[in-house]
């Protein structure tokens, strides 16, 4: 038993390195020291007629990927229809780039009571 107590720090380093490798570029990214920030691909799941998260914080240059996990087809469509994933059947996904000035309120064209929004942030 004693031998296992000798290596916790090394384990921590390995675990941390693995965690960074797995999460980097997917959901989290290491804070860039150079000031250049990688774009992030966010995921919005559509389950039981709801977009989750209902409010998603994004930044210009990121992408948002909508995945439909429902049996019913859905869309993610800008309130003013300036962008649209079009019909997503069960298991289908589509990404939209976050651009300056884009419409952030969106809904499902097929089920107009499904509404959600993007929140574009500029602060780090």
């Amino acid at each position: 038993m004693k031998s296992t107590i000798q290596f916790p720090f090394e384990w921590f380093v390995i675990a941390a390195a693995v965690a960074v490798a797995i999460s980097g570029g997917i959901l989290f990214y290491p804070t860039p020291s150079s000031g250049q920030r990688q774009s992030v691909e966010h995921v919005v799941g559509i389950t039981d007629f709801e977009f989750a998260p209902a409010t998603l914080r994004v930044r210009i240059g990121d992408t948002v990927k909508w995945i439909n996990r429902d049996l019913a087809p859905h869309t993610a469509t800008a309130k003013d229809e300036s962008w649209d994933t079009d019909r997503l059947d069960q298991g289908e996904a589509l990404s939209v780039a976050v651009t300056r000035g884009m419409t952030t309120d969106y809904y499902c064209r097929f089920h107009p009571m499904m509404v959600a929004k993007l929140q574009i942030t500029t602060v780090d």
Partner: protein, 176 residues
């Protein structure tokens, strides 16, 4: 086409009988009878939707009707895929027959209406119909379905029909 094929299948089942025990109440139906009711109920709503597309000129009604066709078709496709995987045939029963009779009457009635009168009747019926079917699915079907995969499909179906009920509610309010 889909509806005609379905009606023909029901007719054939009625002619040859299905050998199942006679059920008197929705809670007595077996899984294959429940599957039959659901399939009929889906197709009835698709039928109402086609009527709405033919008669109504209200864009909101058209959008709603198209959603009914799209969603109920998706559910039916999953149901048929599951039944074929289980190598099972849906069984005709008293409730399917009652639903069809009710639908025939309503289609006749709604076919006479035009304009706002049709839109109002269609929206109100969609609300009442989804409410009734959802009650049946939640209270009589889901608790009694034995097969786990069939039960899971009904649970996702119920979520869809509950969303339709909310959507219909919204439409009824808008048309007032």
């Amino acid at each position: 086409m889909r509806i005609r094929v379905m009606l023909a299948a029901v007719g054939v089942a009625a002619m040859f009988g299905n050998g199942a025990a006679q059920a008197e109440s929705p809670a007595d139906l077996n899984d294959l009878q429940i599957a039959h009711v659901a399939y009929i109920a889906d197709n009835i709503d698709i039928r109402y939707a086609h009527l709405a597309l033919a008669i109504s000129s209200n864009p909101a009604i058209h959008e709603f009707a198209n959603t009914m066709i799209r969603d109920h078709t998706a559910v039916n496709e999953q149901a048929l895929a599951l039944l074929s995987k289980l190598k099972a045939e849906p069984q005709d029963n008293f409730l399917s027959q009652d639903l069809l009779k009710g639908a025939d009457k309503l289609v006749d009635e709604m076919s006479q209406l035009r304009g706002a009168a049709f839109d109002k009747r269609y929206a109100e019926n969609e609300l009442a119909y989804h409410k009734a079917v959802n009650g049946l699915v939640a209270n009589s079907f889901i608790p009694n379905i034995e097969n786990a995969e069939v039960k899971a499909l009904f649970k996702s179906g119920l979520k869809i029909f509950q969303a339709h009920e909310r959507h219909a509610q919204m439409m009824v309010k808008k048309l007032k």
